[in-house]
Symmetry: C2
Subunit: 350 residues, 2 copies
């Protein structure tokens, strides 16, 4: 039987129409079933005539919406009939296999934690994201769920992102790097130095510290960092890519021959934009949960939503959570040392 | 009398020739005197015939070189006759007004701390850098000198970078933002939340948290972060700018009409490259010292070195250190609360 994915159609900057369009693409192209959660009238208005009879498409009416700026834990406690909360409740009941949302990502993680819970031996689920590089994709984790971390948490991010890289990008033993400010193991802040020791003792394919500029060279498959640093990297990259495109456009407009050149290079420009547009990459998986969740960029297009639904189905079919458990089991020295690791304060200034 | 700048010609990836060429440009164009420190034979070989008689140009022979991968504090202790150490010793003796180096930036900071010492009430000198944005330049601090910080240190970075922004970019009351992962004051890690409170109590022009994507929009003049985050942002931006240019080049090469377009847009491309090349921005000032130091990118061109020498002279002439002291004095509540602030551990995971 086809997998069924819950889609929160009340999240996202472009309105339910774009999200519904993404769901239709997924149902038509991916042999997957989709449950749309949100205001039923708006969903029906967004469906083209006859589409609501599509096999696999289901609508669940919800009466509340969690806004982008709401405090996650309070919002999911107060708004029990919101599309995000209802989606994870359905997941818990086994009525859907995964949840996709382009709404408040903090609330999505909070609802996932509350309804699905954590995998055994994972103390901090997190959010991974894929960056395009000169060679292949690189997975960075955490990119925002955990801002103050201990070495143990960074180690878990490495395990979870490696499992994701295996399943999504077919890399049996992903190369894992720790984001720092120098390549030698002795460089970095206190958190990174202690995490480096943990990774070195593990059976993971750990290649040591990597620097910010290595991110886009394609010489590493997984980059580990805390959620504060990761989120800043993600937003900085988006902002810089946009600014660079605008600056190049400026320089071209100043020059008539270049303007003609621009018209001729137009196709190259749009291919380039697609290549660096994070929204096209199928969203960012929530990893470390007893279930599957994907958060998407607020401005995701219908195609980006379809891609996120595709990623969700692949994570379920290829059992990413089993891979996480398998990698964790290989390094069970960590659970033996858990108390010790939890007691070490990390990141405090000397 | 013209200011005299010491230039370490043994640092940098391109060899002494490029650095000497930068010094010549500075002496000819900027009415500044330059003392070249390094291996005298190599310096003389790099000088064109007759150039060593240029008024203002001086050579100081040094016998040792601090390599890029050496541990800063050990290197400056062991290599007393290195160009970096000798340059700051000259600065301390009052024989030069500032030091410029494209070598090991950690060793440069260590030598500056040892020979010049800190300004009163500055507990952590740091490194600032300028990023190009869609509007004007933005100054980020710290970008690598202090990896584990307390709120007090971030506040000092804000003060120092604001003084730099005043002096270099003629902005009387620079807008200061704290780099975080959400714009609301309640968002961020523990360090950022506590620093936010300090900035809010101050008389600085503090505009609140800024996100990574705001960096390149030009709506903030100074971005404050710890040296771990700042260094990662700097390296990530360099790496991404290079990768984007390479990716766009790829897309263009795939298409014949685009290839013709590229040839026509060539001028626009090189203007664009100059605009985003950090090496052109005149180096990164060391701030918070009893003196003036500039570190440059290892791959700095002669023009970049000339720009760094120009920035050094402007910082001395416009008395950036007096501006730092003036801004600090306006918020002396900080020194009253110094003990309390020093005792609060920052960045520890809850």
């Amino acid at each position: 039987m086809a997998l069924r994915i819950a889609l929160d159609v009340m999240g996202g900057d472009r309105g339910p129409e774009e999200l519904v369009a993404g769901a239709l693409l997924a149902v038509r192209e991916l042999s997957v079933a989709v449950t749309l959660l949100g205001d039923e009238a708006r969903i029906r208005a967004a469906l083209p005539r006859g589409a609501d009879a599509l096999p696999g498409l289901e609508i669940v009416h919800t009466s509340e919406v969690i806004e982008m700026d709401e405090s996650p834990f309070e919002a999911i406690r107060r708004k029990k009939d919101s599309s995000i909360v209802r989606a994870f409740a359905l997941h818990k009941e086994g009525k859907v296999d995964a949840v996709v949302s382009a709404g408040n990502s903090g609330a999505t993680m909070a609802a996932a934690l509350k309804y699905l819970g954590r995998l055994n031996d994972i103390s901090r689920p997190g959010i991974a994201t894929t960056f395009p590089t000169l060679k292949g994709p690189v997975v960075m984790m955490d990119v925002g769920a955990n801002v103050d971390c201990r070495p143990r948490h960074l180690f878990e991010f490495g395990v979870m992102a490696a499992a994701f890289s295996r399943v999504m990008y077919n890399i049996p033993r992903p190369r894992i790097g720790l984001l720092s400010i120098g390549e030698e193991g002795g460089k970095g802040n206190i958190l990174v130095k202690k995490s480096h020791d943990l990774f070195q003792q593990s059976s993971l394919n750990y290649i040591g510290n990597v620097e910010g500029r290595d991110t886009f060279q394609g010489e590493v498959d997984v980059i580990v960092c805390d959620g504060f640093v990761g989120n800043i990297c993600l937003k900085l990259s988006e902002g810089l890519a946009e600014a660079l495109i605008a600056m190049l456009g400026d320089e071209i407009k100043k020059r008539l021959p270049a303007k003609i050149g621009y018209l001729l290079s137009k196709k190259a420009f749009s291919a380039f934009r697609r290549r660096v547009d994070y929204a096209e990459y199928g969203g960012a998986p929530l990893l470390g949960l007893r279930g599957t969740g994907i958060v998407c960029h607020g401005r995701s297009s219908a195609v980006a939503i379809k891609n996120a639904i595709r990623v969700a189905t692949e994570l379920v079919q290829n059992r990413v959570n089993d891979h996480i458990m398998e990698l964790l089991a290989a390094d069970d020295f960590l659970s033996l040392r858990a108390d010790e690791l939890d007691e070490e304060p990390a990141g405090a200034a000397p």
